[in-house]
């Protein structure tokens, strides 16, 4: 390591300040204005007015560029939001080109108040916004045409990028665009009736399909800028570890190595290696001899944590729900009580495109290129690290190869590392790459959990009393999100799916413990529902079996009267899967589950057999109620894929474990998500017809699959499966 004291670029003290700030203080000043969660007594801000010119650009060629205020990372929003706008605009769809928005005020989520993708909100939060933008733009084009022809706008109509007027007059949008841009933006516009939709509700193929099949689609990792250098960082072997001493002599011998230096991390410190090429940087990193200071750091051990969590679950925690009579359990005879204990491991997101961020620092400004789910926060973090204001950082949203929550990190640690390295290389774009090993070992996992549930069953076979304890790290404690998401000491994301269950249990008690563990944790596609739906749906199935009732009929009976969406999907599932469920081959069983999250209800039936002591999933039938289905084709894809993602929980090697503070897996050979043979052979998706407000489709597929599979396994073996990942069946 070169002497840092003499290094003009690296002022260690200021770096450490930046580090401290990044670890917690950076966001304190951030005013998280979540209009959807406006506090009582605080007036809601007036509805935002969105200028159409920030979202639509009509070029003389006739091409219509529509800006998408979201990251595209597989969910198909790059097609669906332009569909919504183009429909109200009466645009020629074949001329529509979608562009991802840079970070800017106008592109913030209308409900969340920051620019982000999460909570399955891309369509549901921006549906109205994009409709109005399309309708306003259309009104401005019609006004321009009416001006030109000196007629009333009421005598004009639009269709397929053309305005038609009286006496056979017509003008293309492209001819009218310039004049239309000077017309005032109307305050109110009439939106179409659903019967008038031409794109919304139709199966529209993705706009990015061809580019993603011929290799031309560029992702963040594919970025290539003039003079760009590649950086990798040697991260501590234990979260929060600090560099004590570095011998970089061997590493510096490699031709193409530009520099090696220590940087602060969101937790602890690391050593950055910058080189001409990725391969050189990685080889150089492998040659570093680093002595780490791990003093005073908790060495997390997952088997110890498992025992500790299990013990904690035996006592009630902070109360999330206490409904009905607390003594109801004690009045239930022992023969009618169930006690069930569950264990869930840490899970990694491992999106296919390894984590990356590119930053170029130019003194009084900077540019960043990040496949980001949290543009607002990532832009702030880059600015803070470089001593700039957020608006001095031009922040480009790059296409992402998956994310599942991993690119929505409150401490922005990946772009932050890139910025700290770029600070030392003025006017040189630095592409920071997290090799797969860094990603698997790097934390920010779906937390470990223990659940303990005690159920008192009524004489009618229905649950009369339910006491539920959940143990798991909070996702947001100590962050600006805590004020909104932690209530009475309970992180909503830990108990969601239990505390708000749609099952009707008269005496219901849910509480939570949030142990503090030295392992960074994060939302993983469908967040708390990953484990809560598993517990609820396996227990409900167990109750149905004890009551000798059909699992669908039992669920229907137990649902609250107002659980309309779940009832509808159970009915549809019954209808669509009855034929195959009644004709199962020998050795096959059907498993059922249903769950509602992000305002979308899903019911699932799977056909399972056992091959080589593992579940083989022959088919899945899904029924979905997501309000108005904006693009049924992409919804079908989300559900087919989402259940494949959910199967991660059941994979034999689908868990992250720690020993002595070190993560035991490092790549897909140790942490093994589902491959083609592990996923269902066929998945049919049935969408309930609806004109209600569209609801989320990215996350709701995930929770239903693992309980459905396990419920089928139980029917084959008679065993209960309460510890994940699923060991040999």
């Amino acid at each position: 390591m070169r002497a840092e004291k003499n290094d003009l670029h690296l002022n260690r003290r200021s770096f450490l300040c930046a580090s401290t700030a990044a670890a917690g203080g950076l966001l304190v000043s951030l005013y998280l204005d979540f209009p959807a969660f406006a506090q009582e007594g605080r007036p809601s801000p007036p509805p935002k007015v969105y200028p159409p010119d920030a979202f639509v650009r009509i070029e003389p060629s006739g091409k219509i560029f529509i800006t998408v205020n979201r990251l595209e990372f597989g969910q198909g929003v790059q097609t669906s939001l332009p569909m919504v706008l183009a429909d109200e605009l009466d645009a020629d769809w074949s001329q529509v080109v979608a562009e991802l928005a840079p970070a800017a005020e106008v592109y913030k989520d209308p409900l969340f108040g920051i620019q982000m993708v999460g909570g399955s909100g891309s369509i549901s939060h921006s549906f109205q916004q994009y409709r109005e933008l399309g309708a306003k733009t259309r009104a401005m084009l019609i006004a321009a045409a009416a001006d030109r022809w000196k007629v009333s706008p009421n005598d004009c109509r639009a269709e397929n990028s053309v305005v038609y007027g009286p006496a056979g007059k017509s003008a293309r949008y492209a001819e009218l665009a310039e004049r239309a841009a000077r017309k005032p933006v109307p305050n109110t516009v009439r939106l179409k009736n659903p019967s008038e939709f031409r794109l919304i509700g139709k199966k529209v193929p993705r706009l990015d399909s061809r580019a993603k099949c011929d290799g031309s689609q560029k992702f963040g990792l594919d970025l290539d800028l003039p003079g760009m250098k590649i950086a990798v960082v040697a991260h501590p072997p234990v979260f929060g570890g600090r560099v004590k001493n570095v011998d970089d002599q061997e590493a510096r011998r490699l031709s193409g190595v530009k520099d090696i230096f220590e940087i602060p991390l969101a937790k602890g410190t690391g050593v950055a290696v910058v080189a001409d090429r990725f391969w050189t940087a990685k080889q150089a990193r492998d040659r570093l001899q680093i002595e780490w200071d791990l003093s005073g750091i908790e060495l997390a051990d997952s088997s110890q944590l498992r025992a500790k969590f299990k013990e904690m679950a035996r006592r009630p925690g902070n109360v999330a729900v206490a409904r009905g009579d607390d003594k109801a359990m004690s009045r239930t005879p022992a023969a009618r009580r169930i006690v069930a204990e569950y264990e869930f491991p840490y899970l990694a997101h491992t999106p296919m495109e390894p984590l990356n961020a590119t930053v170029s620092f130019k003194g009084d400004k900077a540019e960043a290129w990040v496949p980001s789910q949290f543009q607002t926060l990532d832009q702030m973090a880059v600015a803070q690290a470089l001593g700039l204001k957020p608006e001095q950082v031009t922040f480009h949203t790059e296409y992402a190869g998956g994310g599942f929550g991993r690119r929505a990190v409150i401490d922005s640690h990946v772009p932050l590392e890139a910025a700290l390295i770029a600070k030392r290389f003025r006017d040189t774009p630095i592409k920071l790459v997290w090799p797969r090993e860094d990603d698997v070992r790097g934390g920010y996992y779906r937390p470990m959990h223990a659940h303990r549930v005690e159920i008192g069953i009524g004489a009618d076979g229905m649950p009369a009393a339910w006491r539920h304890v959940v143990v798991g790290q909070s996702l947001v404690a100590g962050t600006p999100f805590a004020a909104m998401m932690i209530k009475d000491g309970v992180d909503k994301t830990t108990v969601e799916g239990v505390e708000d269950t749609h099952y009707n249990v008269p005496n219901f008690h849910v509480s939570a413990h949030h142990p503090v563990v030295n392992v960074p944790v994060l939302w993983w596609r469908s967040v708390g529902h990953t484990h809560t739906a598993f517990v609820m749906e396996t227990l409900i199935d167990e109750l149905a079996t004890r009551a000798k009732m059909d699992p669908i009929a039992y669920r229907r009976k137990l649902l609250k009267p107002d659980a309309k969406k779940l009832r509808t999907v159970l009915d549809l599932l019954d209808q669509k899967s009855a034929a195959w469920r009644k004709n199962l081959p020998k050795g096959h069983a059907a498993g059922i589950s249903c769950h509602e999250c992000f305002n979308t209800a899903v019911a699932c039936a799977v056909e399972v057999s056992i091959e080589n002591k593992r579940p083989k999933i022959h088919r899945a039938t899904l029924a979905v109620h997501c309000g108005l289905a904006v693009n049924p084709l992409s919804i079908e894809s989300q559900f087919q894929g989402g259940i494949g993602f959910g199967l991660n929980q059941l994979m034999a090697q689908g868990a992250i474990t720690l020993k002595d503070g070190r993560v035991e897996q490092s790549n897909f050979d140790g942490f093994t998500p589902p491959y083609i043979g592990d996923a269902p052979v066929a998945v049919d998706v049935h969408i309930v017809p609806s004109t209600e407000q569209p609801t989320g489709c990215g996350e709701p597929p995930v929770p239903v699959i693992s309980p459905a599979v396990v419920n089928a396994l139980t029917r084959l073996t008679g065993k209960r499966y309460r510890n994940l990942p699923l060991a040999a069946v």
């Binding site: 597989g74 990015d208 399909s209 099949c213 296409y399 084709l633 992409s634």
Partner: protein
């Protein structure tokens, strides 16, 4: 550093790199062909799949020094192959992609499968595609696209 003359997509390309550099990084960083993806670096995910003399190969673990004069085909040129074109078209027709990051590798594996076995069974598909990870789990549509392409190959 050493100089290599590579045959990539029918063109001769000269590169000056460390002999141990995996073919993947030569394609991506020296030849600026980024259609071939980095996913794991240990041949466990298939995102980097290319054809070397027609054989589906994980380019992330093959040092450039071992390539010699073998013919390399990447996703950028697979449409020039009649089977490749049909597979790509089937992928678009079935709306397979989601994030799309693994799909170059999926398509390269599928083309190799259909060249060897134009009428694959489900088991052939699971075996040949079994090393290509898709975190979006587009597997159902991958199966459909392979079958659709297969039907058009007759």
């Amino acid at each position: 550093m050493a100089t290599y003359q590579l045959n990539v997509n029918g063109q001769s390309k000269k590169v000056d790199v460390d002999p141990g550099t995996p073919l993947l990084w030569v394609l991506r960083e020296d030849l600026k062909m980024t259609g071939t993806k980095y996913g794991c670096g240990i041949s466990a995910c298939g995102a980097c799949t290319v054809h070397v003399d027609g054989i589906a190969t994980r380019s992330c673990v093959v040092p450039v020094s071992l390539i010699g004069n073998r013919k390399i085909t990447t996703i950028e040129a697979i449409a020039q192959d009649p089977v490749g074109r049909k597979v790509q078209d089937a992928w678009v027709e079935k709306d397979v992609v989601q994030c799309g990051y693994c799909q170059s590798g999926q398509i390269m594996s599928a083309v190799a499968l259909l060249k060897a076995t134009p009428k694959p069974t489900e088991q052939n598909i699971e075996e040949s595609m079994g090393g290509n990870l898709c975190r979006c789990a587009t597997y159902v549509r991958i199966r459909e696209a392979i079958k659709s392409a297969s039907e058009q190959l007759t």
